[in-house]
Symmetry: C2
Subunit: 104 residues, 2 copies
Amino acid sequence: MNRIFRALADATRRDIVARVLTGEQSVSALAARYEMSFAAVQKHVAVLEGAGLVIKRPSGRERFVRGNPERLARARGLLAQLEGLWRDRFSQLDTVFADPSLRE
Amino acid sequence: MNRIFRALADATRRDIVARVLTGEQSVSALAARYEMSFAAVQKHVAVLEGAGLVIKRPSGRERFVRGNPERLARARGLLAQLEGLWRDRFSQLDTVFADPSLRE
DNA sequence: AGTACGTGTAACCATTTGGTTGTAGATTAT
DNA sequence: ATAATCTACAACCAAATGGTTACACGTACT
């Protein structure tokens, strides 16, 4: 999970994820869109791949990158779970009040 | 957004968020739960505060920390938006096919 | 065969991160 | 008044990040 959130903590990488979710793109096609070096973009893609947010498919000399929505869903699930803790933050208190042993 | 995801990219910090979402806790009460130094936990809380994931309320000599679900929702919203791109990844193609000028 | 292209990796650099210890200020307890 | 507690912050350190340039290797083009 650390790697997923860490990978998403960079605007360039979030942008790459958004692009490759709508359609496969080669690494060099991605690199052409950013003002940094090819190597930098290649490293960003490697980080995303390490986090499972992106999958590479080799084809000849190029690698096509596509997004993996499953991993996004995992991260979103964790956030939803945390928000659930907030929503149910009084449940323990409710349990106490509902406890028959306290009912006298 | 960078700071939100970066703050969540650490297991200790995610744990802190989970704890303070269910109820306020002082910084030292939090620190007592982890095996690192007080200063380390204090820094983690500061990172979470900088990301807006957590809010501190001063009371006497201690600061009570509570979670801020709004920021979590923002992050979750971004993920949902990205997943939406995936879900609608053929919409542009659909638009092309639906284009009357191409219907001949 | 030779050249150009796409990718990965290594070496390097500046900055950030996650941890430590120590110190200082403010508040509370004795 | 003194001591203990809670918090913040500074200085330091090792490791990770995000970027660079240069090079090596496999594939495609002419």
